[in-house]
């Protein structure tokens, strides 16, 4: 399964970048979201995956009795997911405003700030 997950991660990264490289504002956001998912999954994968053993101490016990999945990557991903949520919602609104103010969906037309004034 690791190989499949690695391929998925690669696919997410690739599709994310591919979408960012398109000129459309909406695709840009989708690309960023895909990329973020890829990064989360990568942490998950590299933290080593364990099937069916959630890191929750069983009832009536103070310590783990059997093996458990490494909780650290999970905590990191949780933080990362929530942060990306904040960033993504901001991004969506930013795109909406930018579209409205600049009146274009084409990123190639948003280059006034790089021109000398």
């Amino acid at each position: 399964m690791e190989i499949l997950l690695a391929i998925l991660v690669g696919l997410l990264y690739a599709s994310g970048i591919y979408m960012i490289l398109r000129r459309s504002l909406v695709k840009l956001i989708i690309g960023i979201i895909l990329l973020g998912n890829g990064a989360n999954l990568l942490i998950f994968l590299l933290g080593r995956i364990t099937k069916g053993l959630p890191p929750i101490i069983p009832e009536n016990s103070k310590v783990f009795l059997e093996a458990y999945a490494d909780p650290v990557p999970q905590a990191l991903i949780l933080t990362a997911i929530v942060i990306s949520f904040g960033l993504q919602s901001f991004a969506i609104i930013l795109v909406k405003r930018a579209h409205k103010v600049v009146r274009t969906d084409d990123l190639d037309e948003m280059n006034a700030t790089d021109e000398d004034s």
């Binding site: 959630p54 929750i56 929530v82 904040g86 609104i93």
Partner: protein, 137 residues
């Protein structure tokens, strides 16, 4: 979307989901759940309510701007993180625990208040974003 059935359903759904979200929040220390998920569920509950009943109704139900929940939640989390410095001279974020067992919750400590802060912030943030978008032209 605004059918009567949905509206009625959401009227019941809201308190149920809210209760559920609080349940998720409180049990987070023992089972999957916690402030984040709890907050998100509560927010989704309000969002559904607003879809069904209109934004205005949901807002009047809330009575205050959801944005207010953000500083409130932050303050709660911040002070529960700060409490060990103030009360025990321990470092920031050190857990302070009430010794003894409280029914339903298990142990009570500063971490719980911290998680409540998280819950409030998440609700505040999500609702602020969604409400603002819904209102925007």
């Amino acid at each position: 979307m605004k059918t009567i059935i949905l509206r009625t359903a959401s009227n019941y759904l809201l308190p149920v989901l809210l209760l559920f979200s609080i349940f998720i929040l409180l049990r987070g220390h023992y089972l999957p759940g916690g402030g984040f998920v709890g907050g998100l569920i509560a927010a989704i509950a309000f969002v559904f309510h607003s879809f069904a009943n209109g934004l205005k109704n949901t807002k009047s139900l809330l009575r205050f701007h959801p944005g207010f929940l953000m500083p409130a939640g932050l303050a709660l989390s911040f002070f529960s993180g700060l409490s060990p410095i103030i009360f025990a001279g321990d470092p920031f974020m050190t857990g302070l625990w009430y010794h003894g067992h409280v029914p339903v919750l298990g142990s009570v400590g500063s971490a719980l208040f911290f998680d409540m802060g998280v819950y409030l912030v998440v609700v505040g943030v999500t609702l602020t974003i969604i409400f603002t978008i819904s209102e925007a032209p």
